[in-house]
Amino acid sequence: MELAFAVVIGALTASGVYLMLRARTFPVVVGLTMLSYGVNLFLFSSGRLATGGQPIIGSAETYSDPLPQALVLTAIVIGFAMTAFVVVLSLRSLADNNDDHVNGRVPEQDSTVQKQEQEGANT
């Protein structure tokens, strides 16, 4: 079970990191969201995995660690606030720069790459 859980966190991290390194605001935001899902799962698992051990007194024989759950709850809420902010910030950047590139404009060498790849794709 632990390995499966670890692979999930790895996949979320890898995907989040890759998207975070993209050049447009939208994938970056998606990547950050993905990363925060991974991080939340990770923090959650720092209290180890349990089945049917929900930390509600009287509902189980042994309880899973409630503290990481509380921490993750806080982290989810904060992550939500941050994501909301960065989404809106990317909108603002789009409005201010007429471009959704993370740097406000497409750097020259990148736009040539774009052109080349498109040509490559067309032929």
Binding site: M20, T25, V28, L32, L35, S36, V39, N40, F42, L43, S45, S46, G47, L67, P68, L71, T74, A75, I78, G79, A81, M82, T83, F85, V86, L89, S90, R92, S93, D96, N97, V102, N103, G104
Partner: protein
């Protein structure tokens, strides 16, 4: 329990909440209440400074829950020093802001006070996860503040700042998770107790977690290679915000001092001095990069922003020694550099206001109005920043230089810092002589009026470097006591056994 400990938190929180309600109240009322809040906060910080000077650790357990279970505030000299430093800077930034910067958004004062809230929590908290929450409070407020103001120039740097810090927060959480997964605790004092007892096979996890924390704090502190978000963000923020941000990198430095002297300090067994051997070379490279940036800066704001990075490098070099002398030198330097950098950002803005389309760019322009006043302020700021006598920067630099002990430390620190100072001097003299002296024909339409709130706050912050010279003795004594207190980790961990309300005998 001394309820004063909560004052630096409750005051800006209440003030901020009031501002949230008062979005549409007359601006005069909002300004009055906001400034009153900041003044009260300064008063509270001073009270705590006086309290802390007896050298004891004061504990405040939220919810009356015994640490390590509940969240605690811990007041010591370091916390008090950071609080006062921040409150002083904030007050002048705030006064500057009511000179007109606050008009472009109704949320300004609220965000400003929430920013202070986050800073104060960070300085006082004794809980690692709560430190994360504090970081988030101050970051989200700083995001809002950064975007404050007219124009579009700050959007992209703001976006970079936000995205990198979001990634940083993710790393912070991972690090907290790793450390919790081994130690099972979050309270810093408890961590200081538990870390030396970590089993051999678990050391790598804690070590990696600690190093990740160092990266996160390094990102906030703007240490190379994590510093490149700073120049753009700071130089595009509105003046009072940029000036207040002078303290933002210091939060990272504070966190490094706190966590890496308490949790990974000299009593941490296997893990003592974690990361410090990385820190010293990185600090020197950061310093060098800062100097290069300052030399190449095209505007006063950029110059000062790189100055912030120079000071980060200098500070961390001293901190990395892990000695009382190093830490106390860093603390003295910290005060100087924070206030002066803040003041310089304000001066740069005033200059900008006088120069029309030339703004604060280091280019020739028609002669500015109020040249004498502004050039004297700039000169003083530059002298204090470069570390020339007779202003406090010199003494701060002396302390830092003197804190190096081993021959290789001396050789590296002295040469990098002194050669760096030389080139910074060249950068400032070049910038100042072009901006203030090298004039072209013509005159500027509608220069900004230097209202008292603008000029007083800018000159007050710069003049603090004179005050620091006069009070150099007492301040360095306080810094030394602070450093000594910090390095005596066992005293801190005694908070774990303090009685709660209702338990006192």
């Amino acid at each position: 329990m001394n309820h004063w400990l909560t004052a630096p938190i409750l005051i800006p929180l209440i003030g901020g909440i009031l501002q949230a309600f008062m979005g549409y109240a007359p601006i005069a009322l909002r300004r009055t209440l906001a400034i009153a809040t900041t003044v009260l906060m300064l008063v509270a910080a001073i009270v705590l400074l006086v309290l802390a000077d007896d050298g004891s650790y004061r504990l405040y357990a939220f919810g009356n829950w015994q640490p390590p279970f509940g969240i605690v505030l811990v007041l010591d000299r370091l916390a008090a020093l950071m609080l006062v430093m921040t409150a002083v800077l904030a007050l002048f930034c705030h006064i500057y802001a009511i000179g007109g910067t606050d008009e472009s958004s109704r949320q300004f004062h609220g965000l400003f006070l929430f920013q202070l809230l986050g800073l104060n929590i960070a300085f006082l908290t004794g809980d690692l996860f709560n430190l994360f929450v504090a970081f988030e409070v101050l970051l989200i407020a700083s995001y809002g503040l950064l975007m404050h103001g007219e124009g579009t120039s700050r959007t992209v740097p703001g976006l970079h700042y936000v995205v990198l810090n979001l990634a940083g927060s993710a790393v912070f959480l991972i690090a907290v998770g790793m450390i919790y997964s081994v130690t099972g605790t979050l309270n810093m004092a408890d961590l200081a107790v538990k870390i030396p007892q970590v089993a051999e096979e678990n050391l790598p996890l804690v070590k990696a977690g600690g190093m990740m924390l160092l990266v996160v704090f390094g990102l906030k502190a703007a240490i190379l290679p994590l510093c490149f978000w700073l120049p753009g963000a700071y130089s595009n923020a509105t003046a009072p915000v940029a000036a207040l941000f002078a303290v933002m990198t210091k939060v990272g430095i504070y966190a490094i001092i706190r966590v890496f002297t308490l949790i990974f300090g000299n009593q941490a067994g296997e893990l003592s001095g974690l990361g410090m051997d990385w820190l010293f070379p990185l600090a020197l490279i950061t310093l060098t990069m800062g100097v290069i940036g300052a030399l190449g800066a095209a505007s006063l704001r950029k110059l000062i922003a790189w100055q912030v990075i120079i000071s980060v490098g200098t500070l961390l070099a001293a901190i990395s020694f892990g000695t009382v002398a190093g830490t106390s030198a860093a603390l003295f330097y910290l005060l100087n550099t924070t206030w002066v950098a803040g003041g310089l950002f304000l001066v740069a803005d005033l200059v900008d206001g006088q120069r029309g389309s030339a703004q604060d760019k280091i280019v020739t322009a028609p002669r500015i109005a109020n040249r004498t006043f502004l050039s004297v302020l700039f000169l003083m700021g530059a002298v204090a920043a470069v570390g020339l006598p007779p202003l406090s920067g010199f003494f701060a630099k002396l302390l830092i230089l003197k804190s190096a002990v081993t021959e290789s430390d001396v050789a590296w620190l002295w040469s990098v810092l002194l050669i760096g100072s030389f080139f910074t001097l060249i950068a400032y003299s070049r910038a100042g002589s072009i901006v203030f002296w090298r004039n072209v024909e013509g005159h500027i339409e509608e220069p900004q009026k230097l209202t008292p709130s603008l000029s007083v706050s800018a000159s007050a912050l710069i003049s603090l470097s004179i005050v620091m010279v006069i009070l150099a003795g007492p301040i360095s004594r306080y810094a030394e006591d602070t450093a000594a207190q910090l390095h005596d980790t066992s005293a801190y961990t005694e908070i774990l056994s303090k009685p709660m309300v209702g338990e006192e005998k």
